[in-house]
């Protein structure tokens, strides 16, 4: 068996807009791989393509040698790929607990008690707020809930879209510690981030995406040292 996840020359369009212009990348079992790039580079589109919410016009998405690009999104979840979408995409009028319940939707007929306990351990804040409507949580809490909800699906591959978006530096640090923790417990992570510094700290490898194309790929340490990356994404002059 080759790579856990492999994108092979993927082209995705929004109507006439060519969002991904031949993206190829691989994720190996147990890794944290990060996809960095500026706004509009196609990072979220890449994740949506993997989740099959967006269909590629060309190219293949392989997960453990199975083609995802024609699969309906709910079947992709059943294979063990869960996505924590970007921003405030929680079910706002449901409680925290109900959101977690929905996270386990792809595994019917299974008791979720242990899983709920596990995510409450990772995010004690969510436990405090478990009966509260998700829409009333703070930005950081909603982000935690989105990640926790994705974990409820028992993913082997977790897709995280901008987990640090809109969070304070302290919260960002906490979230990244948790991501490392989740990975240490055996979940492979594909992490999309604008905060390249933090992402490269926690990741093993990374790709740099620019206007729909992968322009660099290397180990996280090498990318962090790369002059081009430092100038473009780490704020060095």
């Amino acid at each position: 068996m080759a790579h856990m996840l492999q994108l092979d020359d993927v082209h995705t369009y929004y109507g006439n807009i060519h969002a991904l212009k031949g993206v190829s990348l691989e994720v190996e079992r147990g890794e944290i791989v990060t996809l960095i790039g500026s706004n509009g580079a196609g990072k979220s589109t890449t994740l949506r393509t993997i989740s099959a919410i967006q269909r590629p016009r060309e190219g293949r998405v392989l997960f453990e040698d199975r083609e995802l690009q024609q699969m309906p999104p709910h079947d992709v979840v059943k294979l063990g790929i869960a996505q924590a979408p970007e921003g405030r995409h929680v079910f706002a009028r449901m409680s925290v607990y109900e959101n977690l319940q929905m996270g386990a939707f792809s595994r019917p007929g299974v008791s979720i008690t242990a899983d709920v306990a596990r995510v409450y351990d990772l995010f004690p804040r969510l436990k405090e707020r478990r009966t509260q409507k998700a829409g009333t949580l703070s930005g950081g809490e909603q982000q935690m809930l989105a990640i926790a909800r994705a974990l409820m699906a028992h993913p082997v591959l977790l897709l995280l879209d901008e987990p640090s978006m809109g969070l304070s530096p302290i919260l960002t640090e906490q979230i990244f510690a948790i991501i490392a923790d989740i990975n240490a417990q055996g979940t492979t992570v594909l992490l999309v981030e604008q905060n390249a510094q933090m992402a490269l700290n926690v990741a093993h490898r990374g790709y740099v995406l620019q206007t729909g194309r992968i322009i660099l790929s290397d180990t996280a340490a090498n990318l962090a040292a790369n002059q081009q990356v430092r100038q473009a994404y780490l704020g060095e002059i």
């Binding site: 919410i53 007929g109 478990r130």
Partner: protein, 573 residues
């Protein structure tokens, strides 16, 4: 001082609005239509009360704010006076200048009514004084403590409601050999002064006593042991069932007819509630399923339809339900990708297409065009059923009532079960955020189609009963107003709430049937009710409390037994 100045400014602007509302009520003719209804004979008519309500209510609203007694009362008085000036000015103007070719409702009888059958100038003064007094009374209501206000308001509502029920109560009282009561209560299609005082007193005392009795009763039930509590629940349920079964006998033929309409719309609303309330798919063409249910039933059961098979109703019913579910899928499939307003517009079109198909000349050999289909046999095959022992003779509405009740109960149980099932959760998620629902593993396509098919099945039951009740079907019945009415019921009652649906149907179908004068203004009232609801209480009259309670239970115990595992049976669907 600044505070009271702003209160007075508010009183003037609210007074202007109140006056405009009163003029509007007068100009559309609703006030005059109701002036034939005596509330208290010789004292006040329903039309007069309707015109009195705006300054009363506005006076109450404006006087609720503030701490000092005098400015609050003055504000109410001022508000009433301002609204009275508007009405008086309009009266004088309309008496002097003939504006009837613009506003056709401003007729001499209306002007006479407005002027209390006096000269226009005296009438104007009377209006001014009356409105000012009403504003002041409203303000007084806001000032007095609620232990005074509540009984008074309840008493007034009691008087109005009992007098409104006169046309139905009087014959029923006679049927039950209670002419004495009837003669005491009513004179000339309204309450007598003495009976009005008695009714007022009963309701006022009741409003004070009722909460205490209820609280004591609840406390005693709560203190009882679980076995007794279960017995109490059982007996309550039994009493409710007995009541519902005996209702047509108590209500009589005419009120049973009203109940049948309420039941039909309850059924339709329960079905649409699945599509709109649960799955969040705004379907404005729901009438299509009602029509399909009616026509399929007529085709299959009428011996003189184009099919001419004349099946018994209960044999035809499964085919009708299946047919409606398939129609649901047909309508659902093309609109799967549409969201929000686009979905609403397309389904609106589908509803019209359904009606036009049934109406069309091309399909006349099957559906009979404008003539529709006649000869639909009654639901049980016979027009009259006698119940042994009780000696009831069931016919027409008193007979149709029972299958309708049965279907409503079934639909309500199915809807409740669905709501808290895995399916209900998937719909809930889909309604909140379709993309994320997909990403958590909800097969959005299937769940949308399921909502359409289930909604269609419930709606077609209404159509099936309707066809047998009228013994015929006509395309004209199935117009867009049905869809709008059903949607209004859901919005009034509270989206996704089942008790809300029943209350909504009672209010929007039952009330207009009881007040025939409303018929002409029904849509106007619906529109007004919807606007008011959206502004004041967007969650509906009876929103889902159960759901909130469930959330609080989850608060106390970690595992409310509502996880994925507990609900597998429901998942088979």
């Amino acid at each position: 001082m600044r505070g009271s100045a702003s209160q007075l400014r508010r009183a003037i602007s609210l007074g202007l609005i109140t006056g405009a509302v009163m003029l509007y009520l007068v100009a559309v003719g609703i006030v005059l239509a109701f002036s034939a209804r005596n509330t208290i004979t010789g004292v006040v008519t329903l039309g007069r009360l309707m015109l009195a309500a705006p300054p009363l209510a506005a006076g109450y609203v404006v006087a609720r704010r503030g701490t000092d007694l005098a400015p609050r009362l003055v504000a109410g008085l001022l508000l009433g006076a301002v609204s009275g000036v508007i009405v008086a000015a309009a009266l004088l103007f309309a008496s002097a200048v003939d504006i009837r070719h613009i506003l056709v409702r401003i007729s001499p009888p209306l002007l006479a009514f407005l002027a209390f059958d006096q000269d226009a100038s005296i009438g104007a003064l009377l209006n001014l004084a009356l409105a000012a007094a009403l504003g002041l009374i409203g303000a007084v209501a806001a000032v007095v403590p609620s232990r005074v206000r509540r009984p008074a308001i309840t008493g007034v509502i009691g008087v109005v409601v009992i007098s409104m029920l006169e046309p139905f109560l009087r014959p029923r009282l006679t049927d039950f050999k209670l002419e004495g009561v009837s003669r005491f209560l009513f004179t000339h299609k309204g309450l007598s002064i003495a009976s009005a005082i008695v009714v007022f007193a009963i309701f006022a005392v009741g409003s004070v006593a009722w909460p205490r009795v209820r609280a004591r009763y609840r406390a005693r039930v709560a203190a009882a042991d679980p076995g007794t509590q279960a017995t109490i629940r059982g007996v309550t349920l039994l009493l409710l069932i007995v009541f519902l079964l005996a209702l047509p006998q108590i209500a009589g033929s005419f009120l049973s007819q009203v109940l049948v309409f309420v039941g039909l719309y309850t059924l339709l609303a329960l079905g649409l509630n699945i599509v709109v309330g649960y799955a969040g798919l705004l379907d404005l063409g729901y009438v299509a399923f009602y029509a399909v249910g009616s026509y399929l039933t007529a085709l299959l059961t009428s011996p003189i339809s184009s099919l001419g098979v004349g099946l018994p109703f209960w044999v035809a019913l499964p085919i009708v339900i299946l047919g409606a579910a398939v129609t649901g899928l047909f309508i659902g499939a093309p609109v799967l990708r549409l969201r929000g307003d686009y979905l609403a517009i397309v389904t609106l079109g589908f509803g019209e297409i359904a009606r036009l198909l049934f109406l069309s000349d091309a399909l006349k050999p099957w559906f009979g065009g404008t003539q529709g289909i006649l000869g639909v046999p009654p639901l049980f095959g016979v027009a009259k059923v006698s119940v042994p022992i009780l000696g009831w003779q069931l016919t027409g509405p008193t007979l149709t009532y029972y299958p309708l009740l049965f279907f409503c109960v079934i639909a309500a149980i199915v809807a409740t079960r669905l709501k808290y099932s895995r399916i209900g959760r998937a719909w809930n998620a889909m309604r909140e955020d379709e993309d994320v629902a997909q990403a958590t593993g909800v097969n959005v396509t299937n769940y949308k189609l399921l909502a359409f098919a289930l909604g269609a099945s419930v709606g077609c039951l209404g159509g099936a009963v309707f066809a047998t009740h009228l013994a015929s079907v006509f395309p004209g019945t199935f117009n867009i107003l049905v869809s709008i009415t059903v949607l209004s019921i859901i919005i009034l009652g509270g989206m996704g709430s089942i008790p809300g649906v029943v209350v909504g149907a009672l209010a929007l179908i039952g009330l207009p049937e009881l007040l025939r004068e409303f018929a002409e203004f029904k849509l106007l009232v619906y529109g007004g009710v919807l606007v008011l609801m959206m502004l004041l209480r967007p969650e509906g009259l009876l929103p889902d409390r159960v759901r909130q309670q469930e959330l609080h239970e989850a608060d106390e115990e970690e595992e409310p037994g509502a996880d994925g595992g507990a609900l597998t049976p429901a998942e088979q669907g």
